[in-house]
Homo-oligomer: 333 residues x 2
């Protein structure tokens, strides 16, 4: 089993009110670099920060890493447009940081990265892979892609109160800048990615396209961003099975009709509840209050723990220990 | 436990008669890219070749990967000057491919890569790391570095008959081109690396320097190239313990006085014999005849199998199986 993490950036994250994936907007850009390091090494080694939300919720990378301490699986990070250095090893597929989707051509590297990622996915000898993401601002670009494809436009948020109005405003501006109406990119995922998306969506949908061509079973490990990856793959014409494994925090998000999205995209969905609610630990309380919710393959990692028969109490204990070794003020190195 | 593999290239490998790390000189340059993929995925995914010696001996990466199937350890590859793309994830430390050491300034990125690798080594949270290499032509640059430092000049070869005269000739020319006499770079490892070395030696000695500063135990997993890494670290002034884990093929190499080299550098040496001699398999016969001998952390991986109580018969069985799934003609993809 291999968990593939696409880590990258979009300048869309810098728009006021969009993302919680980092306490300080100046540090947001380091989040995916740090997340890859936390999953690989257990802590940042080059990134100057441990990503935490404004309210102090530690990155889901800590949960994925905690599961990795208990369940054996390989992790392979793919550089899907990092803007800051990472000390984690990454696969190169030619992706660059995404620009603000309100620009006219925000992801010019999307078609090339999709193609290289597809070849990479096709060549992987694994029987089964899980795919996760880390990209601040990623639910806004996911909304943009869903609208360009003519899909429902259902996205979650790393904030307790999903700033959906703000996201819709941004996406409307972005559609206008690209001279697109909703549904104009139906059947043309490359166009949706390049005009309205981000490099992480391009890389992940490319890998899925390659994996399904070579009979590698894929589980989309995440929430509405990974569902958007499924949408992109559906618009390549693929009609076979697609699985999504996410957290109870996404499933319980009132702003997200996950069942409707799954039905629309013909996804089978696995929801895992790590039992954080009512536990006396700042990280657990923040998740239970609706912060972060997903990311860095967390929902898939929790599903893997469940399949392996690891009790969630053990996962929580490991998360506590992992949090204990990380700086709590968000600074690292 | 983490095995860190520095993978890179030097144009020194293109000198006639130097290296066996690939059947065809045009394919040599793909060897480290393919080796990283074989250890990560079990087979090449982007590199167009399975590295084999002119006589058909498969790369030691297959042995390291076979051990990894049986013993749990993390693998992190570092790009130490790759010249061709790899589908393996790699850490970036600013290394570029090395030029022919007969040029005047063959490794200009050595000081920067050493510094970045040192920081990386210092930041690693691991208690223990093993370090391996893949770089065709690497014993010739190792000889160059040893001579520049004033060390004995003891190096092995991936060929059954070590072309030592040819290597000495090349190193003499290289010393002259850099206006160095043997020993001129004593106490100045950066100078030895830049004028006579290769990017893999720069990265590995940097990582070791960082690890020993932060109490991460280091095992040099390899033969005379890794001993040369030890020499470089000794010339930074470090006098603490250093372990080397290599194969019986290096220990049995008549052209190498491993004991003398270990005594000179104050290394404790572990030698592991995988028991390939007398077994009816082309790969085992080639190793037993003195091909390849070491590389890609093989000696360290075998030591890890021994420590874990895995019988060498099981390692051999796994090598057979791994060889069986690889194309035998050297071509991949």
């Amino acid at each position: 089993m291999r968990l593939i993490l696409a880590v990258g950036t979009t300048r869309t994250a810098a728009i006021e009110g969009i993302s919680a994936a980092g306490a300080d907007p100046d540090l947001l850009v380091h989040t995916p670099s740090a997340d890859a390091e936390i999953v690989e090494y257990g802590e940042p080694v080059r990134a100057p920060v441990v990503p935490v939300s404004p309210a102090g919720c530690p990155t889901p990378a800590v949960v994925t890493r905690a599961v990795r301490d208990l369940v054996e699986f390989d992790v392979t990070a793919v550089d899907a447009g990092l803007a800051e250095p990472t000390g984690a090893p990454t696969v190169t597929v030619g992706a660059s940081p995404g620009r603000d989707i309100r620009e006219q051509d925000p992801v010019p590297t999307a078609p090339g990265a999709f193609a290289a990622a597809r070849q990479f996915g096709r060549a992987l000898p694994d029987d089964e892979v899980y795919l996760g993401e880390s990209i601040p601002g990623g639910t806004t670009t996911a909304l943009g892609v869903q609208r360009a494809l003519g899909e429902p436009g259902i996205v979650s948020s790393s904030l307790p109160d999903n700033p959906l109005d703000r996201k819709r405003e941004v996406v409307d501006e972005a559609l206008a800048a690209s001279d697109l109406k909703p549904g104009d990119a139906a059947g043309d995922p490359a166009r949706a990615l390049r005009r309205m998306g981000d490099p992480v969506l391009a890389v992940l949908s490319g890998i899925v396209a390659g994996c399904v061509e070579s009979d590698t079973a894929v589980t989309l490990a995440g929430g509405t961003q990974l569902a958007t990856v499924a949408a992109l793959v559906r618009h390549t014409g693929y009609e076979g099975p697609l699985d999504l494994a996410t957290t109870s925090f996404v499933a319980d998000d009132d702003s997200v009709d996950l069942d409707a999205l799954a039905a629309e995209l013909n996804l089978s969905v696995t929801v895992t509840d790590p039992g954080f609610a009512g536990r006396d630990h700042p990280a657990f309380e923040a998740y239970a209050a609706g912060e972060a919710k997903e990311g860095v393959g967390m929902g898939g990692a929790l599903a893997l723990a469940e399949y392996a028969g690891v009790p969630m109490a053990e996962v929580r204990e490991r998360v506590r220990e992992r949090c204990g070794t990380l700086p709590t003020d968000g600074a690292a190195n």
